[in-house]
């Protein structure tokens, strides 16, 4: 007797929905990249944007009627910034999804373990050393020290949590909070040292994509793609980890090892995003949360969807501040100002038991 099990069809239906969701998100993102590149002080039509991009890929010459400054504006000014914003948004959202899954907490974000405080401390240190004239040029030392700060923080958090054989979420979150509190005090001290020039530090901490170049995009791609692959590879194990360490172990997942690998990948991703763009809040919290509500908690679908969704959201925010607002607002402020109240709304509706 060969009857199709109802579960079988339920699952096939889910997978189909997943594929179409990813396709829609990918189409949205590509459209947005083209449209956003055309927007700004110098308006360029989407068609011309595509012509410029195509000519720089294929090496074909451009139609002579086109404004000769367009290729420079598209390829050297806007596109690097737009791709950097998309990659950072995607990276933060993916990292957020992984942190939420490992810490068994839908309200965790890429900064929960104090990685952002470590990065902020490193960047502040580089900036204040620059103020005193001790360090290398800021464009090089700030991202480097931010990255080192983030990774050092992760190492300390792991060290504090290590006696807990299963790296349980409470232990990890507590360790993160402790380290972050110490680092905040350190940042406060550095700001005090910086005295009148404290503005440089504050501005960096609020995040920005101004002046991002192809080398930033390359750096981000070099980190984002391997991390995406690692996360996809372990996505099924991550689903099992959602059952808790003991259950996951009894189902044959080496929970301690996989937690370590994935926390490392997610923190690496967060560190590189923060060191390129400063601290941008809420993307890593809202996107995984929203997409989980829409698509369900299966990480095999959720993680790639978060990459696309995070890219769309942060690119939208960056385009608003770059092309629409009369003066450019720090993007970290914008995402938190829009994201915060929006999140309150979702949170409240969820508390009331309504499906969003």
């Amino acid at each position: 007797m060969k009857t199709t099990a109802p579960l079988h069809s339920l699952r096939r239906h889910q997978r189909k929905r997943g594929f179409s969701a990813l396709t829609v998100l990918a189409l949205l993102l590509s459209t947005e990249i083209i449209l956003a590149t055309g927007m700004g002080f110098l308006a360029i039509s989407p068609w011309e944007v595509m012509e410029v991009i195509w000519s720089s890929i294929s090496g074909l010459s451009l139609p002579p009627a086109m404004n000769p400054s367009f290729p420079f504006v598209v390829m050297e000014v806007r596109l690097p910034r737009i791709l950097a914003a998309a990659l950072v948004g995607g990276g933060l959202a993916m990292a957020g999804a992984v942190f939420q899954a490992i810490l068994l907490n839908p309200l965790a974000d890429p900064y929960t373990l104090g990685v952002s405080s470590g990065a902020a401390f490193g960047a502040s240190l580089a900036l204040v050393l620059g103020i005193f004239g001790i360090s290398a040029p800021a464009f090089f030392s700030v991202p480097l020290l931010a990255f080192l700060g983030a990774m050092a923080t992760l190492a300390v958090v792991f060290y504090l949590a290590a006696p807990d054989g299963r790296l349980s979420s409470n232990t990890l979150i507590l360790s993160g909070v402790i380290v972050a509190a110490i680092l905040s005090a350190g940042i406060g001290f550095i700001k005090y040292l910086a005295d009148e020039q404290v503005g440089v530090i504050i501005f960096w901490l609020m995040g920005s994509f101004v002046g991002k170049t192809w080398s930033d995009v390359t750096l981000l791609t070099l980190f984002t793609l391997p991390c995406l692959l690692v996360m996809l590879y372990f996505a099924r194990d991550l689903n099992i980890l959602a059952l808790g360490g003991r259950m996951a172990d009894s189902l044959g997942v080496d929970s301690r090892r996989i937690k370590k690998i994935l926390l490392l990948a997610a923190s690496l991703l967060t560190a590189i995003c923060v060191s390129v763009s400063g601290i941008i809040g809420f993307v890593g919290l809202i996107i995984p949360h929203l997409l989980r509500l829409a698509l369900g908690p299966d990480n095999r679908l959720l993680i790639p969807a978060c990459f696309l969704g995070g890219a769309i959201l942060l690119l939208t925010a960056d385009t608003i501040t770059r092309a629409w607002l009369p003066t450019e607002l720090p993007i970290g402020v914008l995402t938190s100002l829009i994201g915060g109240p929006f999140f309150c709304l979702i949170f409240r509706r969820k508390q009331l038991g309504q499906r969003v």
Binding site: L7, D249, L251, G252, G296
Partner: protein, 278 residues
């Protein structure tokens, strides 16, 4: 409730399932205090073992050791004649399943998704479940009477329904050995008996092995073949139901006065606790 006689079969000639010698375990976060001391244990396949003892006597820890979710600090543990640490976790998970007492999920998985996770150790990475997998999952859900809940969200279920989902997941794992850690402690008496019966059936009819930490001594008396008594991290006694569940042992291990009524054809061994009025 009558119960089939304990399988006399060829059990004694079979290879032992678990052999633990001088097993010691301490939690690192516990200031180094030993939780289990010099445990010697031999478990034979095809039996229903009841693990009893006061709170904190080391029952859950012992189950963790047998399911290799924790490992011994001293001493040795063989599973089917092999050092358990040398067996790949995923392979072991196709042979032993664990049912915890409580299970909560912060993420909105559906019932079907959670039960299918029991097939995880059997399905290679990046593969989809086969029709055999789906068959086992549906059978497990039917036996726990939760097949109608398949598309529902786990978080929306009642406590009893949730626990049946957890048992169904372990059944879907389709292992020859099942470890139950107070699996029915949060259930009403109807579902408690339903689950114990199903588990007993797996032992009696399919020759699987069950080791269950049980608080309710009457439940242990009704369903188990063998009782393992733990006290303060040591094995106090092991043996058959009538042999172990005596007033003397209950007084010594639990500090409770009790009368024991021997098993008859009509009912299993019964324990009546003496509760002094205040």
């Amino acid at each position: 409730m009558s119960r089939p006689p304990s399988p006399a079969m060829t059990v004694s000639k079979k290879q032992p399932l678990f052999v633990m010698r001088q097993g010691c375990f301490a939690y690192r976060t516990n200031g180094g205090g030993m939780v289990l001391h010099n445990i010697d244990l031999d478990l034979t396949p095809g039996r229903f073992y009841g693990l009893i003892g006061p709170n904190g006597s080391g029952k859950s820890t012992l189950l963790d050791l047998l399911t290799a979710t924790r490992s011994l600090q001293r001493g040795g543990l063989l599973f089917q004649g092999r050092d358990i640490r040398a067996i790949r976790k995923k392979e072991l998970a196709t042979r032993i399943a664990l049912v915890p007492q409580r299970f909560t999920s912060n993420f909105d998985f559906t019932v079907a998704e959670l039960v299918i996770m029991g097939r995880y150790p059997h399905i290679p990475r990046f593969s989809q479940p086969s029709s055999h997998d789906y068959d086992l999952v549906e059978e497990a859900m039917r036996s726990m009477q939760i097949d109608h809940l398949a598309p529902r969200l786990f978080s929306d279920l009642s406590g009893g329904e949730k626990q049946r989902v957890v048992v169904a997941r372990a059944l879907a794992q389709d292992t020859e050995t099942l470890a139950l850690d107070e699996a029915t402690a949060s259930l009403d008496i109807h579902h408690t008996i339903a689950i114990m019966r199903e588990v007993r059936r797996l032992v009696s009819q399919q020759g699987r092995t069950v080791i269950a930490a049980i608080h309710d001594l009457n439940l242990a008396a009704a369903f188990c073949d063998q009782i393992i008594v733990l006290k303060d991290g040591r094995i106090y006694q092991t043996g058959g139901v009538a042999e172990t569940l005596t007033p003397e042992l209950i007084a010594a291990v639990f500090s409770v006065q009790a009368q024991v009524e021997a098993a008859t054809h009509d009912h299993p061994l019964r324990i009546h606790y003496t509760v002094e009025s205040p």
